[in-house]
Symmetry: C2
Subunit: 205 residues, 2 copies
């Protein structure tokens, strides 16, 4: 997991001498703005202020750029299940750990996760990424079922709807969360978990 | 508020004799699939299986189609505030009424709301629609502030984040809710309200 992608500032137009990470960071912005299908290597070159052949110096094809960009979201999402904390505690605690970690990836890799969430599956690379995303999602839906069975999660909402409401809430963060906004990434993580598990209604518990 | 738009089945390609509502219903699908900017009147005509001049018989321009389609979402959303129930009860009860009613519009006018949520504001028509949407959203954020002040809503989450979490959760419904899925529109409305206000954690209250 390379943190440098998100911390490197958006490089200015016309500046030559990109490394692969900067190319990736700008490419994902252009993909998200115009859509992957509608983005040609020519348009990318224009946004980078370099020639097409200079892009090909970094990556062999547009598809490779997409694959690398999707990995920036998928690799840390897949790493969550391998964290030792993912195996500790009740199913509800493990579910919370998963969701917290997912939110963390979402806010740190916002552009890359946005790209992943908007995929349509038109190409093999997109379909592979969607399959990997589904595998991650299944871990969460399995935990929802387990947490309902252990009695910690309310079961008057079926597991499938519960899972969708959870993903709906956290995935929407990529649309509205801004690092420079009025709340920090840590606060937003706490707040989302609080709403989803304890609700917004004020109570004494 | 005309209910007929959502109940009219998607008309098949090549069938002549559309009314304006069917044209609208297909236009919004094409806008959502390819993006408004990327959809020409020629592409619309192709999807409708009629000539461009036949479309112009129904609407003067692509912009008018967009405006009419956005009205299908905005008019019922704006009507919520005028419902007498919107003025009854505590701020929390009024907030719940607003959110429930919004969810109802979202699931009944899914395509039109999707179009509204994806607007970029490139044209005057889009900016007008976004302004009307913001006016609707402001009513909800005002109610959140009022409900926190009356003490019914938890105030350890700031009102702005609370509002965004609420909209994030309910707006995401347009992405995943399917009328023919395993839960009805009424259930999804109940379930979303339950999660947002009472939380998923099982408790005795």
């Amino acid at each position: 997991m390379t943190a440098s992608v998100t911390t490197s500032p958006p490089t200015k137009r016309g500046r030559p001498g990109y490394d692969q990470e900067s190319v990736l960071s700008i490419a994902v912005e252009v993909f998200n703005k115009h859509g992957y299908d509608a983005t040609s290597m020519g348009k990318l070159a224009e946004n980078l202020g370099i020639s097409k052949s200079a892009i090909y110096h970094h990556v062999p094809s547009k598809g490779d750029l997409l694959r690398l960009a999707l990995d920036e979201a998928l690799v840390p999402l897949e790493a969550i299940a391998k964290d030792e904390q993912a195996a500790v505690g009740t199913a509800e605690e493990r579910l919370k750990f998963f969701l917290r970690s997912t939110i963390r990836v979402l806010v740190k890799r916002q552009q890359y996760v946005t790209l992943l969430l908007r995929l349509r599956g038109n190409t093999e690379i997109e379909r592979d990424a969607l399959e990997r995303r589904r595998a991650v999602d299944r871990k969460v839906s399995d935990l929802v079922i387990e947490a309902q069975q252990e009695g910690s999660l309310r079961s008057d909402i079926d597991p499938r709807t519960t899972t969708r409401l959870l993903f709906g809430t956290i995935n929407s963060l990529v649309e509205w969360f801004r690092e420079d906004g009025n709340v920090t990434a840590e606060q937003v993580e706490d707040h989302a978990i609080t709403m989803m598990f304890d609700g917004l209604h004020k109570s004494d518990r």
